[in-house]
């Protein structure tokens, strides 16, 4: 049975190795845990998952695989007291969502429908758009996307054993915030390290020590220097939304690699092409905008500029004033690009679109020309070329 679980984990995108699997078996053989699913869940998680951003994936596979087992440990409560549900909904919904419920005939009607469905439905269900279960778009069940949905089984109390820990999926937020494979990118970014000596002198300066010892007629004269630190400064501009949605993963990888590699990293978001405003928090992109001019003035020319975007848009968005899809821009995107490049001579554009497709997209050609051909594919190889250009 565990072998199936192992392969299911691997199919679910968790890179579980044979040694980790054998370790788990050894632990079971040595009776580290009592015969208890919950403890087995904790044990296998500690043993097989090594990154909290993958906890959620693990929870899903675990839940799918051990669906039958949990029934052995007690019934999955099908009769849910109404007042509990009510409390749950009130806690989980925002004011707007509550208003939406009202619009749909109100709370009473919703509960009425739920009661009917509960009677019609006899077994556990997942997905779909009508039955009560998880992951669907029906208004009833958990983790769905229907704004007026009723959450069942997400109450997070330790005492309530009927709700399985792995079904709570507390780590959902963490998934996708970090992905595997950023190490390759970091290694590529390391080329950009420019070392400068700052701070306390705590490293032996061998050439100087030898020199001074020789001058000192052979008596040792130790010279120390401060350790070298990475002094590279980077401005990272990321295209976000629209056609970039397909490339979110690789951009996140790049971002997490870059943010841990450089001490002086400033990032800003833009949409399609750079115009007069940038933003730092995508949730508040329409509220809090930072004038691009301020950015140009604030960060001196020794910053290296890395633009990340697919550069796939209508040519008007680059060439003409007022071409932006989101707002009225007084000046054309090309003007702003020129300003950026004038301020930061060391600049590259990283493009997640496959390189073969570039010749067929006019806007990529335009931007590549604006960048003076300093556009590189967002792959490890492309990143290396780009970094060589920057350093």
């Amino acid at each position: 049975m565990l072998l199936g679980f192992f392969y299911q984990l691997r199919a679910g995108g968790l890179k579980v190795s044979i040694t980790e699997y054998l370790t788990l078996l050894e632990l079971l053989q040595r009776r580290v845990i009592r015969f208890d699913v919950e403890q087995f869940y904790y044990l296998s998680r500690a043993c097989l998952v090594k990154d909290e951003s993958l906890y959620d994936r693990f929870d899903r596979v675990f839940s799918a695989h051990f669906k039958g087992v949990e029934d052995l440990f007690g019934p999955d409560g099908a009769d849910i007291p109404e007042d509990w549900l009510r409390k749950q909904v009130e806690l989980g919904l925002s004011e707007e969502e509550k208003a939406q419920i009202e619009a749909l005939g109100g709370w009473e009607k919703l509960m009425e429908t739920l009661r009917q469905r509960l009677e019609e439905q006899k077994e556990r269900h997942q997905g779909g758009s009508k039955w009560i279960g998880t992951g669907g778009t029906s208004p009833f069940g958990a983790y769905g996307y229907n704004p007026e949905g009723v959450r069942i089984g997400q109450e997070g109390s330790r005492q309530r054993r009927a709700v399985k820990v792995w079904d709570k999926r507390e780590f959902r937020n963490l998934d996708d915030s970090l992905e595997l494979g950023t190490r390759n990118m970091k290694v590529a970014l390391r080329r950009l390290r420019r070392f400068a000596r700052q701070g306390a002198a705590e490293e032996l300066d061998l050439p100087d020590t030898i020199d001074c010892t020789a001058k000192n007629a052979g008596m040792l004269d130790i010279k120390m220097v401060p350790e070298r630190h990475n002094a590279t400064k980077v401005l990272l501009f990321l295209d976000i939304g629209g056609s970039m949605d397909d490339h979110v993963r690789v951009c996140e990888e790049l971002f997490s690699a870059a943010s841990s590699e450089f001490k002086h990293l400033e990032y800003f978001y833009f949409h399609n092409c750079v115009y007069e405003g940038l933003w730092k928090d995508n949730k508040r992109r329409h509220g809090v905008r930072i004038p691009t001019m301020d950015v140009l003035h604030k960060y001196p020319a020794d910053y290296k500029l890395i633009l990340v975007g697919d550069a796939t848009m209508s040519p008007y968005e680059i060439g003409h004033p007022g071409g932006s899809v989101e707002h009225w821009n007084e000046e054309a995107g090309a003007t702003w690009m020129k300003r950026l490049l004038d301020t930061y001579p060391k600049a590259i554009w990283l493009n997640p679109e496959p390189e073969q497709r570039w010749p067929f997209t006019p806007s990529i050609q335009m931007l590549s020309q604006l960048m003076q051909q300093r556009m590189y594919p967002l792959t490890v190889a492309g990143l290396e070329q780009g970094i060589r250009e920057l350093s």
């Binding site: 890179k15 632990l27 580290v32 090594k50 350790e227 841990s260």
Partner: protein
């Protein structure tokens, strides 16, 4: 190895998932990697395991300049060079200049020790790779004296990380992993109870409410964590602030007393004050 079991101590509340992971690591003598928000008691865990199991504790605090070799041993060539200049007798035996690191010391203990490798992510990206064999086989080779140091008892190694750098897969595969998530209200009550058993009940529940409301505020640079809560409670106790002062109904209308213990950052305090201001204006 033995049937040792760790189940928290009188001053450390360990949840079931944490104890399961720790016991797995203790049983097999493999390292356990602990991650979590700052202030959730990662470093303290090692101290408490040592206390709970009655084992000696060795600590190795990693900094950005730490090299893996320093945990094993260091050859103090400069001291030897100096001694040779002064004609010291000690200079003829190289072993005099081998300085043992915390891992070597842990390997030499007569009882199974607990070794804390604190904040491993602070070191260079290659640091964990340089410790693979040492953590796996619990042995290493000293080139200068041609000896192999083998652990008498596989130490219980607790490694903490703040996720500043990614750790290599090969390293992770040799460890157990646990992510200490922020405690829920009930666990938090247990934790506070362990630290301040005499705390007035109502004061505590009001303070906890204020604390969780504060954590909910979006945009805070550093969310207050468990250790900050404990500090704050200590202050509230010392000043003997009544529970009523905390229960202002809506936390968004006023700063909690002694907020300096919870908000560690000027911008955060400003943000908070601005929110209060906005809120008052909206309510008018």
């Amino acid at each position: 190895m033995s049937d040792l079991r760790f189940s928290g101590t009188d001053r450390y509340v360990a949840t079931e998932d944490l104890t399961t992971a720790v016991n797995a690591a203790v049983t097999l003598g493999r390292p356990i990697l602990i991650k979590g928000e700052p202030g959730t008691g990662k470093t303290q865990l090692a101290e408490e395991i040592a206390r709970g199991l009655d084992r000696p504790l060795l600590q190795w605090h990693v900094k950005s300049t730490t090299k893996a070799q320093q945990g094993l041993y260091e050859y103090d060539a400069v001291a030897r060079l100096r001694d040779s200049q002064l004609g010291d007798e000690r200079v003829h035996d190289i072993a005099n200049y081998i300085v043992k690191g915390p891992m070597w010391e842990a390997f030499e203990q007569d009882t199974q020790p607990v070794l804390l490798i604190d904040e491993i992510d602070k070191a260079d990206i290659e640091f964990p790779n340089d410790l693979l064999r040492e953590l796996d086989k619990m042995e290493f080779y000293v080139y200068e004296t041609h000896q192999t140091v083998v652990a008498k008892h596989r130490p219980i190694i607790v490694i903490t990380s703040n996720n500043e750098k990614e750790l290599p897969d090969a390293f992770l595969r040799r460890c157990f992993f646990h992510y200490i998530r922020f405690p829920d209200k009930e666990t938090m009550l247990d934790i506070v109870d362990v630290h301040y058993p005499g705390l007035k009940k109502e004061l505590l529940s009001e303070a906890l409410n204020a604390f969780y409301e504060l954590r909910e505020i979006p945009g805070l640079k550093k969310k207050p964590s468990t250790s900050e809560l404990l500090d704050w409670l200590k202050l509230l106790l010392a000043e003997d602030i009544p529970a009523a002062a905390l229960a202002t109904g809506d936390r968004r209308k006023s700063l909690p007393p002694m907020h300096g213990a919870l908000l560690k950052n000027e911008q955060d305090v400003h943000l908070f004050e601005r929110l209060i201001f906005l809120n008052q204006r909206n309510n008018r």
